[in-house]
């Protein structure tokens, strides 16, 4: 029985909520219990945005992630704000393009991924979020093509079906970094 509490945080426009929704749908399609909760309010407009995702083998209690097992920090204010809340033994993913400092904690595993730089090098616009998701799934050992295809099909509307390929590419780049 396993429950993973994930907190994804950055600023508005980085696709924080989209990345969370992708993870949630992937969990749902794999038969897990899931919840997804965005921060909402004025802070979304250019300020910080965050999103709680819980993926569990058992029914989800509180949907609010206050002690994340996994933190994805996409900008410095997010790392500053949430670093201390990560559970001992947890994992932190850092966008090292936008966050120059290192993680202070010594009781967590840290992955530094220059995802914003990788996105721009590969002409992937603002898909740093999905590069990070690729890395996250790879680390968690649940990077599987079928689940990813199915989940992308759910979160990308038919009207934007052409976005599937670039999202896949971003996920792959994340996996291989």
């Amino acid at each position: 029985m396993k429950t993973t509490q994930i907190l994804i945080a950055g600023f508005g426009g980085q696709g924080i909520l989209f990345a969370g929704k992708f993870l949630a749908y992937k969990g749902l399609l794999e038969g897990k219990q899931i919840s997804w909760l965005p921060s909402y309010g004025p802070e979304m407009r250019g300020g910080t945005a965050s999103c709680s995702v819980i993926i569990s083998d058992t029914p989800v209690g509180s949907p609010i992630v206050s002690k994340p097992d996994v933190l994805v920090a996409m900008n410095l204010p997010s790392l500053d704000k949430y670093e201390d809340s990560v559970v001992p033994g947890g994992v932190i993913f850092v966008d090292s393009t936008l966050i120059e400092r290192k993680v202070n904690r010594t009781d967590v595993t840290v992955y530094y991924v220059p995802s914003t730089q990788l996105a721009s090098d590969n002409n992937l616009g603002n898909l740093a979020n999905m590069i990070m998701m690729g890395k996250l799934m790879d680390v968690n050992g649940d990077y599987n093509e079928d689940g990813i295809h199915a989940a992308l099909g759910k979160v990308i509307s038919a009207r934007h079906a052409d976005m599937q390929a670039v999202n896949l590419k971003a996920l792959e780049i994340g996996k291989n970094n």
Binding site: K21, A24, Y25, L28, G31, Q33, I34, S35, W36, L37, P38, Y40, G41, P42, V60, G61, S62, P63, I64, S66, K154
Partner: protein, 355 residues
């Protein structure tokens, strides 16, 4: 497994209302429930329904009054300050015995307050909200699936008893996404021979009105309404028990607070504390019977709520003040953490019911 989709609580309410046969939505935007209106704006024109953004909450609730008078299923939604504005119209609907679903996705108050989640409209919802002697049936979902299920149930209950029903949620419930299934949706049809649909010169006029200038008549209406409320109290209270079998401490919580409390209860159980929860699903009628029954084995009740102890009154009434009722709360848009609830459970275990 049935095909489940991920939906926000607000969207689940809107979709469920459509499935329940609601084809008229009137509202005025306010955070954190605007997704309901947005969903209705998109869907209603495609299915022959009406979506109308009124000029104010007051206008919206009076449009609801009008449509309900014709016997059609109708709803409005708002958040705390907006529901205060609707309260006059809600009282009129109660006085005219008109069903409707009114959704309150609560935010912090009083006044304009904030936009973060709250449960501080508990009194407003459970005590009728407007002027005069009346009740609303108040439904308090604690998952996105329940938001859908109770929306449908709300329309049925409103039609069955000819009265407005409130779905009382909060900002977190409205914004969160969870899997939801709309399989096995069943709605009932109720006699609405009271509706104003045109007599075609074949029957007497139906009159929808809340004005009774003769006190004898108004008293009769009030008495009759409260006879109906008695039936509702006897038959419609809903609740869920969690780990109550051997519980010595009983947490009472609804909505998002119940979700947080569940984590705390699981953690307390790991420490060997015998604690459970009674989660009211209807806040009016309040599930009094299971709480009174629990006083036999429970030494302390803890009200976990996002208001200043408003629910304590109902717990004390239900338990006839036989056991102490402690308060564990956050307000103003703050949500208690599982650790805060756990601390209050530990404190209650230590006191063991001693004052």
């Amino acid at each position: 497994m049935a095909d489940k989709v991920l939906m926000k609580g607000n969207e689940a309410i809107a979709e469920a209302a459509i499935m329940a046969g609601c084809r008229h939505y009137f509202g005025y935007p306010i955070t954190p429930q605007t997704e309901i209106a947005a969903y209705m704006a998109k869907r209603m024109p495609k299915i022959g329904g009406v979506f109308l953004q009124a000029e104010s909450e007051i206008a919206a609730i009076n449009m609801v009054y009008g449509v309900s008078s014709t016997g059609k299923r109708v709803m409005t939604s708002s958040s705390s300050p907006g529901v205060s504005r609707k309260s006059e119209g809600i009282s009129y609907m109660a006085g005219a015995d008109l069903p409707a679903l009114i959704v309150n996705v609560q935010r912090g108050g009083p006044g304009l307050g904030g936009i973060q989640p709250s449960q501080s409209d508990y009194f407003q919802a459970t005590r009728g909200s407007g002027h005069g002697d009346y009740h609303l049936i108040v439904l308090a979902p604690s998952s996105v699936q329940e938001m859908a299920d109770l929306t449908i149930k709300g329309f049925d209950l409103g039609d069955k008893y000819r009265m407005p029903v409130m779905l009382l949620a909060d900002g977190t419930m409205g914004q969160m996404m969870e899997p939801v299934s709309f399989d096995n949706v069943e709605t009932k049809e109720y006699d609405k021979s009271w509706a104003v649909t045109g007599t075609k010169c074949e029957r007497k006029h139906n009159i929808i009105n809340s004005l009774y200038l003769k006190p004898e008549e108004l008293e009769k209406e009030n008495f009759a309404r409260f006879e109906r409320y008695k039936v509702i109290e006897a038959n419609e209270a809903m609740y869920q028990e969690y780990k109550m079998d051997d519980a010595e401490i009983c947490v009472v919580a609804f909505g998002i607070a119940a979700r947080v409390a569940q984590n705390a209860i699981d953690a307390a159980r790991e420490e060997g504390i015998k604690v459970g929860m009674i989660r009211p699903i209807t806040l009016w009628p309040f599930p009094k019977a299971p709480m009174l029954a629990a006083t036999d084995k429970v030494h302390t009740f803890i009200s976990v709520e996002m208001s200043m102890g408003q629910m304590i009154e109902d717990i004390k009434l239900a338990t006839e003040c036989r056991r102490p009722v402690e308060l564990c709360n956050r307000v103003g848009g703050m949500i208690p953490t599982p650790d805060e609830v756990l601390d209050s459970i530990r404190a209650a275990a230590q006191k063991g019911g001693n004052k």
